[in-house]
């Protein structure tokens, strides 16, 4: 390989984009000429179906349904996780009280709560929101807790010498000092919340991208199924991008001082 190609590959991610285009091209070629089966439709057909579903509002409607329940469950998890995490990290008594409980619930995979929730909350919107919340809670809780526990004692002593009250210390020192870890937990949970939203929609629902995708498979509308999955890929990517953008604004001081920019 010539040095110019190597330089190009080292200096930008354009090669990665090119790889995606090449794979899609190979998909297209194989679907047209190598594998003549309805389970492997050409990419052009998938995009055509995707476009139809976007224009007639179907995909938008399902996307918004997913986004709504995901964000509801996720926001509750963020509120609860940060509150509990800060309290447990800051007060030894609360740590001793809640830590064993957290350790028992933590290893249970999110989907395992589903049967219990169906029994108690039913199969509606609330069940999905609660499921998303429970599964998203632990990464936020544990990262917040860890972040608060690792705050340098000098920072807390500084708050005391400046005469800050406990509430002021939380606002001015504890939350900002732990914010890099809190945001790490929130990013992990953002992905988890989407997984649980899709899963719950696949199991019992009448809307959402999970419902749309599974229904398309069951009704032999294979291009629609792929269109649903493509939408999820773009949606997940956009969510993560948005999150990173917000994060880089919120903790610029951290990213700059730790040389991550």
């Amino acid at each position: 390989m010539s040095s110019r190609v190597i330089h190009w590959m080292e200096s930008s991610r354009a090669s990665g984009v090119l790889l995606i285009v090449l794979l899609l091209g190979f998909w297209q070629f194989s679907a047209l000429y190598l594998m003549d089966t309805p389970t492997w439709p050409p990419v052009t057909r998938i995009f055509a179906v995707w476009y139809e579903n976007v224009v007639d509002g179907t995909l938008i409607r399902h996307l918004l349904a997913t986004l709504w329940r995901q964000m509801l469950g996720y926001s509750l998890a963020v509120l609860l996780g940060i509150t509990l995490g800060v309290l447990m990290g800051y007060y030894r008594i609360l740590n001793n009280l809640f830590e064993p409980l957290v350790e028992i619930f933590r290893p249970i995979p999110g989907p395992a709560y589903l049967p219990v929730l169906i029994l108690f909350v039913g199969i509606g919107h609330e069940m999905k929101v609660v499921l998303i919340m429970i599964a998203s809670l632990f990464p936020i809780l544990l990262n917040t807790y860890g972040g608060v526990r690792s705050i340098d004692p000098v920072q807390l002593d500084t708050a005391r010498t400046l005469g800050l009250t406990t509430a002021q210390t939380m606002r001015e020192v504890v939350l900002p000092a732990a914010s890099p870890q809190i945001l790490t937990g929130m990013r992990i949970s953002l992905a988890i919340s989407l997984i649980l939203a899709i899963l719950s929609e696949m199991i019992v629902s009448t809307d959402g991208l999970g419902y749309f995708t599974l229904l398309a498979e069951r009704t032999f509308k294979v291009p629609d199924m792929y269109a649903g999955i493509f939408t999820l890929a773009i949606f997940g990517y956009a969510l993560n991008r948005l999150f990173l953008l917000g994060e880089s604004k919120l903790i610029r001081w951290h990213l700059e001082s730790s040389g991550r920019r």
Binding site: Q155, T161, L162, G163, E172, A177, W253, S257
Partner: protein
């Protein structure tokens, strides 16, 4: 300046038979320490590492409790941090909050204390920044500043609180030599301008002699007061001239011998 008799009689800050033990049967960090600091006096506290000088300063600041004995500030026992005293930490990179700009770090010192309207607070903060020579760096973040500049921010934040007394815990020991010298002179000029009382912990006897009117020497672990030395050198002091004066050199030799004795005694006692 005050004569030794004058400040001895003031008894502004009194440390009275103070002891600190970290656990019930653990070794004591400091034991039966008594000395006083007069109003507007500059006292340095030196001792070998592990003699409990930082522990002592923590107790004086009200950040931790003594096992026995008491600290009295203007007659009242110190049990929690007091607004008239401000602490300057050695770890300026921790004590200055990295998520706040320089101006907001200094502002935090008074944000909840003075309840000033925003423009007045900003004016006050900018005055302090000017005093420490950082007026051009108000909108910078700590990671954009050198160590010396970060410690200046901490000093500006302390001054904004209009303290009567500064408690300084090895504030310059993490800085390189030139920065340290610069900050020593800045501190002396601030001390004289503002009329502060300073208790300054250091392990550097040159620094102690150069800055202080009196030097309290602690013995090795557990720390006790080994000696209190008067430093009869005139202010303003000069990094070159003062350090050449016969009195300075004589005291330096005397303190050096004392410190070596303490280190050796500490080793002999160690298990």
């Amino acid at each position: 300046m005050y004569s030794p008799q004058e400040y001895a009689s003031m008894d502004y800050l009194a440390i009275d038979r103070l002891s600190k033990q970290f656990s019930a049967h653990g070794q004591a960090a400091c034991k039966d320490i008594s000395f006083a600091v007069g109003e507007r006096e500059f006292v340095a506290l030196i001792g070998p590492s592990g003699c409990g000088k930082s522990t002592l300063l923590h107790i004086v600041a009200g950040l931790s409790a003594a096992t026995s004995g008491a600290v009295r500030f203007k007659g009242a026992a110190v049990t929690a941090p007091r607004p008239e005293m401000t602490y300057i930490f050695q770890q300026y990179n921790k004590s200055i909050f990295p998520w706040r700009s320089v101006i907001d770090n200094v502002g935090l010192g008074v944000k909840y204390r003075l309840q000033l309207p925003r423009p007045e607070m900003e004016k006050l903060v900018r005055e302090q920044l000017k005093r420490v020579g950082l007026d051009r760096y108000a909108d910078y973040f700590p990671y954009q500043l050198s160590g010396g500049m970060q410690q200046r921010v901490a000093i500006a934040r302390a001054l904004a609180r209009r303290p009567e007394m500064l408690l300084m815990d090895e504030p310059f020991s993490a800085l390189d030599a030139m920065m340290r010298v610069e900050l020593q002179d800045l501190l002396l000029s601030l001390w004289q301008q503002v009329g502060l009382t300073i208790l300054f912990v250091t392990h550097d006897l040159d620094e102690a002699l150069y800055l202080a009117q009196r030097v309290v020497v602690l013995s090795a672990s557990p720390g006790t007061v080994a000696k209190i030395v008067e430093v009869p050198l005139a202010y303003p002091r000069s990094q070159v001239a003062t350090r050449r004066e016969p009195v300075y050199l004589e005291l330096r030799a005397q303190l050096y011998r004392l410190m070596v004795e303490q280190v050796i005694a500490g080793r002999a006692e160690a298990p």
